[in-house]
Symmetry: C2
Subunit: 443 residues, 2 copies
């Protein structure tokens, strides 16, 4: 920091933590800045949930329902309810019982409430895990490339390197995971865990087959690593078929499950959770505490407890449908199904296969659900191209390159379709097709 | 992690981040465990706010008041209000305008709203600062010993060493700060900032004089370090006198102000904030962004945004008294004044000065406000003594040793009197006197 001057203290960026100079964090700021300047463009950029069904009055209903639950089901007196809502709360949270019911109803996971920690969004759950697993410079995490940018950013904040694993059409390439673990060990590194989104991943939209899920669990067991399962889109399948979560198949406690209500309830509340039923030895006699207890200890110095008000609102939302978020999100799931169909139909319409046998102008994957699809373009898609797309053609999207920790995705874009109508989707794809014609036209 | 076994994956504690083996984090767990086992003891242990004036119905009123503020004062349409309450929010938060009004009304601080970031409690504000300032192994922070355990824990989580500075009867010893900065630099370390609670500090109860505040600002400017000012108890003075906050005296932007609503509104909401008006160069042309922008970038990967629901409730609470928390906490301030008087009167009654000229059995400081006083005992006060005190005499307190990062306070205890009545305070001090008689009786 420079010493006294007329204008006061100034830092140089190099005097601040390295994450602040990292492309991952900077690119997101840049993208938000670009999208913010074009409010009238059709935006395939925002990864937000559909909001037509939100109503501020629901907040009051949820709060009241949760208050009654504390009184009637939990047997708390009015002073205890007051303490639960207003005071510093238990680090593990007020919702662990309801989350166990939710996990059984929606995920086929039968969890011990002691293994559950309510977190300030699933982002905090990832931070806690990354912090716990980083003991020194050898520790690393593996993740498929492309990876959710929130995970890459969390890892950067916790000084945890992320080694990329190849992705195939069925999500993470489990054979490559084994190869990458071996290479890391040859370099003296200690692979601690692999992060994975098994259903309709952000950003790729891809899902793992049941066989690959079992294979991944076997590899984790054989290699002695954890799996961090993040599954925010699992309820939004296009065909009504649900594959089992990794955690529901986990007989050897290799999986830490990270849960989110950002897409199933609403993101503003910042309520998520983790399930960590692994044991920790070396703390004293006996079987040892749960990994969840150790993660809660870290949380007690990070956010103390998850907002009691937010927990009460999400708790009330859970109680509304007897803790089934599948039931709670029936209308949203229908919107996402409708929009995915509109994206795939619109792509067929606006990017027809050339009859002359020449190479198509764009190709895309066909996700089985979720909120994202990926298009491969015949030219580079970077921030400058996004700016051009927005200003000249009125359509926004996300360059895929920002989701690759070590490069990749240079010609790919992510289309997020969660907040649009079919009409806007069609209009946006027409604009995108115009951009592609413009960029591929022969002079 | 041990590989497959019948009972599943097990970690050894040594395979998890070092903070989990740290005495700071473990001691708090131990203390909570002991206090939890003696619910009927008089507890001078809990550092919680008084809760008689809380009422769950207030939450609804605050929410409604904030919703109307968004519509009327901010001019948001109903869809924009819905987005503000339910969706991912701006990283810096919904309350920056109201916080600027609060800072002017209560703290004499005139802040640019762009320099304000709403945080998930002031704990997250400390985490963000500690993360930003840790660029490598040379970076260290200074703090008076004893120090708030939440700051020590946050520093441990962010791998930031805390070097102790001596404390006199007026809080931090500014001359010793200069000495410690010099010694650190001789060791090749890079002191980045000093953490300080100028009013009624936790745990010491001590306050800085105006002269010391000015001296501390001069030292920070001369030495080129930041001051992290944490001021949660400033409104709770015993005699109606307020000294200016460091930030209000800060003409050279040496102070990052960390704010809390845990004691002035309520802790469960987990809403705090920071004011960081320093500039950061090296990010591009021009004056450079505010440090607040860089801290917000870190926050976008830690918690994304502070709970919109919590912000709405705290916002409504702020609006109730035109953003004056001094007005909002008049009743609580009276309770704390009454309780401090009861503690000091009770100490005089139960620990009389021996008429025979022998050494007194206990001595204590006389705080000018806040929630804490410190007693020095003629014997060691550790976890075993706390257990004995609770089981044999029915009185709980906090050993001061846990607030010293490098040892100290072995014979001291912290009395927290915020949640008690004068009757319980007198009873508790009588029990404490009985413990002291028991431990100092000659056989």
């Amino acid at each position: 920091m420079s010493n006294g001057s007329a204008t006061g203290a100034t830092f140089h960026l190099g005097e601040l933590h390295g994450s602040l100079s990292d492309p991952v964090l900077s690119s997101m700021t840049l993208l938000n800045e670009i999208t913010g300047r074009f409010p009238d463009a059709v935006s395939f950029a925002a990864g937000r949930p559909y909001e037509e069904f939100y109503d501020p009055l629901q907040i009051h209903d949820h709060l009241e329902r949760f208050r009654k639950y504390l009184e009637v089901e939990r047997g708390l007196g009015s002073e205890e309810v007051r303490t639960a809502l207003f005071q510093y709360g238990h680090t593990k949270g007020l919702l662990t019982d309801l989350l166990v019911r939710h996990l059984a109803a929606d995920e086929g996971v039968h969890a011990d409430p002691d293994s559950v920690v309510v977190t300030t969004g699933c982002q905090e759950a990832m931070i806690l895990l990354l912090r716990a697993l980083r003991t020194g410079s050898a520790d690393v995490i593996l993740a498929p490339a492309p990876t959710y940018v929130g995970f890459l950013g969390a890892a950067r904040l916790m000084d945890m390197p992320v080694l990329p694993v190849a992705e195939g059409s069925g999500g993470i390439d489990v054979e490559d995971l084994v190869v990458q673990i071996g290479r890391a060990r040859e370099r003296g590194l200690n692979p601690r865990a692999c992060y994975v989104v098994p259903d309709f991943a952000n950003p790729s939209g891809l899902s793992m087959s049941l066989a690959d899920r079992r294979l991944l669990l076997d590899v984790a067991e054989r290699e002695g690593i954890l799996l961090i399962e993040d599954n925010p889109y699992s309820l939004f399948n296009a065909d009504g078929r649900r594959l089992p979560s990794l955690k529901s198949l986990d007989t050897t406690r290799r999986v830490v499950y990270v849960g989110s209500f950002a897409k199933t309830a609403f993101p503003g509340a910042r309520v998520g959770y983790l399930v960590a039923d692994q044991r920790v030895s070396g703390t004293g006699p006996g079987e040892g505490p749960l990994l969840a207890d150790q993660l809660a200890k870290l949380k007690s110095m990070l956010t103390l407890n998850t907002s009691t008000i937010s927990q009460a609102v999400i708790g009330g939302k859970l109680l509304e449908t007897d803790c089934s978020m599948t039931r709670a999100t029936e209308r949203e799931a229908e919107v996402y199904r409708r929009n995915l169909a509109a994206v795939l139909a619109g792509l067929d319409t606006h990017f027809p296969v050339p009859e002359d046998g020449s190479r198509p102008r764009a190709t895309w994957n066909i996700p089985g659900g979720g909120m994202f699809a990926v298009i491969t373009l015949p030219f580079e898609a970077d921030a400058a191209m996004l700016e051009y797309s927005a200003s000249e053609f009125g359509v926004l999207w996300t360059p895929m390159r920002y989701f690759y920790p070590e490069g990749g995705g240079t010609h790919q874009i992510r289309l997020s379709f969660s907040v649009l109508t079919p009409e806007r989707i069609d209009e946006g794809l027409a604009r995108l097709a115009a951009l592609v014609r413009d960029r591929t036209a022969r002079p």
